[in-house]
Symmetry: C2
Subunit: 426 residues, 2 copies
C-alpha cells in the first residue's frame, strides 16, 4: 500500500479525481508518521490526534479540492480550537477564541487544521525546539520551523508559515521542501501575530511546487485550476552577497540557470540593488524599528519573559530614530520601483535561498542574508530544493517574482520544479 503521508497535494488530487481518495486513511498515515517521528523532530507545539479523527466528520462549506487535507498551522496564527502561543512563554496556552482569516478560509475549503507547528519566539530569531528532520543535530531554520520540518518529514502535505526576514525561504531550503512567501498584502493576516507591519506576509510549505497553485486557487477561490507555465526570460541576480554563498549554493544557482537555458529560457545575468548591500541593511532597520512597536506591550509588561535576543532586537529598534527608519523606507520605495521595472520584461529572478546548508546546532536558526532584500521590497518568492551541499544537507534556489503577480510566479515555479527535479532531494 502507498504511504499516503508521502503523497503531494497534486498526487492526492489525482487520487480524488479517480474516486480513490480516502481522507481517513490519509489522516491516519500522517498521524502514524507524527507519532513515530515527532518525539525527535519536535515540529508540533500542539496536536490532538483523537479530536482530529472526530473532526474529519465536520462538513465542508465551500469545497475547493482541499476537503480532508490535513495542514499544519504555524503557532503564530489564531485557532478557535487549539491554543496559540506565538512561541513565547508569555502566551503559552493562550486561547484566541477564533480562527485567523487564513485558517477559517482553508477550513471553509474543507481542509483540516491538524495542529500548531513550532515558531521561534514571536517569529523572530530566538529558536524554538524543532530539529532538522534531515539531520537532527542541525537547525531546521526559522521562524516557521515546525511547518517546514513537518512537511519535509512527511508528517503533513501542507503547512502554513509567515515571513518577516527569511522565515519561509530559509527553513524550506534547510529542510529541502518547496516554500512560498507571498507578495506584501496578498493574503489576509488578520488573527496572525504582527511582527512588522511592512514586512510580514503569509506563505506555505509543500513538497511539489505544483501544489502551490492548488492551495492558492483554493484560498482565492479561483474558478479553474491554472497550469504550470514555462517562463520566457529569467534574470540571474547574484546579489551583493554572492561571495557569502557556499560553493555548493553558487553551483546550484548556476546549474539551475544552465538547465533553464537548455530548455530555451533566456537567462540574463542582471545586477540589482546597491553594491554595498544597503537594502539588506535597510531591512534590518525596518524590522527592528517595527518590532519595537509591535512588541511594545510585551516589552513594557513582560520583559522578564522575553529572551535576551528578543529584548535586544526591541531595544535596537527603540534606539533608532525616525529619520533612520524613514531613510530605510525611502530606499525601499525607490528600489521597489526598479524591481517592478526589471520584472516587467522578466518572468522571475533566480538567486540563492540561503548562504548554505543548515548549520549544526540549535542555538541559531541560520543566516537570513539572502532573503532580507526581497522581503523588504515586498516581492513574492519560492524556494525550490536544489540538491545537497558539502554536509549532505539540502540547499535551495530562490525564485523571486513581481509584487502582486504571485499567480504567475507559482505557475512558473511549478514548471521549473519539474525541469529541475533531478536536482531535488529525494
Amino acid at each position: 500500500m502507498t504511504d499516503l503521508n508521502k503523497l503531494s497535494l497534486t498526487e492526492l488530487t489525482t487520487l480524488r479525481r479517480r474516486g480513490e481518495f480516502d481522507a481517513i486513511a490519509l489522516l491516519d498515515a500522517c498521524l502514524h508518521r507524527i507519532a513515530a517521528r515527532d518525539g525527535q523532530v519536535r515540529a508540533f507545539e500542539y496536536i490532538d490526534p483523537e479530536r482530529l479523527q472526530r473532526s474529519l466528520r465536520t462538513t465542508s462549506l465551500l469545497g475547493s479540492g482541499l476537503e480532508g487535507i490535513p495542514f499544519g498551522v504555524k503557532d503564530l496564527m489564531d485557532t478557535f480550537d487549539m491554543p496559540t502561543g506565538w512561541g513565547s512563554p508569555i502566551y503559552k496556552g493562550r486561547q484566541a477564541g477564533r480562527d485567523a482569516g487564513c485558517i477559517a478560509s482553508l477550513r471553509a475549503c474543507g481542509a483540516l487544521a491538524a495542529g500548531k507547528t513550532v515558531t521561534t519566539e514571536f517569529a523572530c530569531f530566538h529558536p524554538g525546539k524543532t530539529r532538522n528532520p534531515r539531520n537532527l543535530s542541525h537547525t531546521p531554520g526559522g521562524s516557521s520551523q515546525g511547518s517546514a520540518a513537518a512537511v519535509a518529514d512527511f508528517m503533513l502535505p501542507l503547512a502554513l508559515g509567515t515571513q518577516t526576514a527569511a522565515s519561509i525561504i530559509r527553513p524550506a531550503a534547510y529542510c529541502g521542501v518547496v516554500g512560498y512567501k507571498s507578495s506584501r498584502g496578498e493574503f489576509d493576516l488578520g488573527g496572525v501575530c504582527t511582527v512588522s507591519q511592512t514586512l510580514d506576509s503569509l506563505g506555505f510549505f509543500v513538497r511539489d511546487a505544483h501544489d502551490l497553485i492548488i492551495v492558492r486557487r483554493a484560498l482565492m477561490r479561483g474558478a479553474e485550476e491554472a497550469a504550470p507555465s514555462k517562463p520566457a526570460r529569467v534574470a540571474l541576480v547574484r546579489t551583493p552577497h554572492w561571495a557569502e554563498a557556499s560553493e555548493a549554493v553558487q553551483a546550484a544557482v548556476e546549474r539551475a540557470a544552465r538547465l533553464l537555458a537548455n530548455e530555451n529560457v533566456i537567462v540574463d545575468e542582471v545586477t540589482f540593488g546597491p553594491d554595498d548591500g544597503a537594502l539588506t541593511e535597510a531591512h534590518k532597520v525596518v524590522m527592528a524599528y517595527e518590532v519595537a512597536r509591535s512588541r511594545m506591550f510585551e516589552y513594557t509588561h513582560h520583559r522578564e519573559h522575553l529572551s535576551a535576543p528578543m529584548a535586544r532586537l526591541i531595544e535596537s529598534g527603540l534606539e533608532m530614530t525616525f529619520e533612520q527608519y524613514d531613510r530605510a523606507i525611502t530606499l525601499a520605495r525607490e528600489w521597489e520601483k526598479r524591481l517592478d521595472e526589471l520584472l516587467d520584461g522578466v518572468d522571475f529572478i533566480l538567486s540563492p535561498s540561503t548562504t548554505g546548508e543548515a548549520p549544526a546546532g540549535h542555538e541559531s536558526t541560520g543566516d537570513p542574508l539572502f532573503s532580507r532584500m526581497w522581503t523588504l521590497l515586498g516581492a513574492p518568492a519560492v524556494n525550490l530544493p536544489a540538491g545537497r551541499g558539502e554536509n549532505d544537507l539540502p540547499i535551495g534556489i530562490q525564485l523571486v517574482g513581481r509584487v502582486g503577480f504571485d499567480d504567475m510566479l507559482v505557475r512558473h515555479a511549478a514548471w521549473a520544479h519539474s525541469v529541475l527535479a533531478d536536482q531535488a532531494c529525494a
Copy 2:
C-alpha cells in the same frame, strides 16, 4: 477657570511648557464632561473612571509630550485592561490580554487609554449606538463613530480610529472635527481587528490639525517637533461624484480653493480617476472580497449573531470571483502610480469629504462615496471642518496626500486649518 476638556493637544502642550499642565485636573474635566453627556451621545462602549484616576499614577516609559493625555480607543483595538468587542455581540466582553501595538506605543509615551469608543459592527456598515453630538437625532457617521463623537463633544482631546472605506473622514466631517487617515502600512495594525488587508489603516481624531503633528511625532518618536508648512501647489479634484455633493459641500470646497489662492497657493483644477467612478466600484469589490475572508470564522461559526447587512456584505464577497477581485486590484495599482505622479509636483489634493451633512436617523452611517477611491489607493487623508450645511450640521473638506508622505500632509493640514479656521465649526 478654563474648561480643560475643551483645550486642544497644542494648547495643552503650551500649558505643559509653562509648567501649568495638570494631568489630574484634565482627566477630571474630561470625566465630568463624559458623565454629563455620554448618556445621550453614547460614544463609549466601556469606561471606568475610578481606575483611570488610579492609573494616572503609572509611570511613563519614554515620554514624548503625551504624558497624562487621555485618549479614546476604538473598540476594534485590543487593550489588556479593558474588554474589546469589535462592535459585535459575538465578542462582547472579550478580553484580549494584551495591547494592540498602537495602544502600547501611545501608553509608552505616557498617554492614558481612557476608554473604548463605539465602533460599528466589525467596523463595517451596521451602526453602533452613538449619536451625533451636534444633533442627537442624526448619525455621527461610521465606523469610528464613538471616537469622532467623543472628540467633537469635548469629552477627550484625542481618539483613535481606523478606516477601510470612510471610517475616519466621514465621522470627522459629520461631527465637525479633524480626522486623519494614514497611508496604507504607515502604522502597526497588530492587535487591531482586520477588516480588509488591502484597505485598513490607522488614524485619529483631534480638534486642531496641528495636533496631528504632535501625535504622529510621539508615535514615531521623531526627534523634534515639525512646524506647520505652507503648500506651494494644490490640486482641486472634484471626482466623478461631484454632482452627488450637496451645494453646501461644493461651495465649501470651492471656498477653500479661493482662500488658499488668496494666500498665494497655486490651485489647479485636475481631473483624476476614470469618469465612470470605476475606482469607487473597485473599492467595493476589494472590500467585500476581503471582508468575506477576514470574517470567514464568524460567518462559519456565528452566523446567527451577524447583522443582516454584515451577512450580506460577506455573501456579496463570497459570490465574487477571483478574476473580479484581481481586476479591481489591477485597476488600483495602475491608478496608484498615476496618483503618485500627480502628487510628485502637488502638495495635496483638495476634494469633498462627504456628500453632505450627517443624515437624520441612526439606521445608516451615511454614504462613504467620497472616500472609497482614496482609500483604495492607500492615500493618507485629512478632514478639516469647513462650516455648516443646510441643516446647520458640520461639513468638511478632504485633503489627500501622497502615499508614504503623511508627515508632509499633516504639516500642510495644520497650516491650512489655521488659514481656513474662519470656516470651521466653533
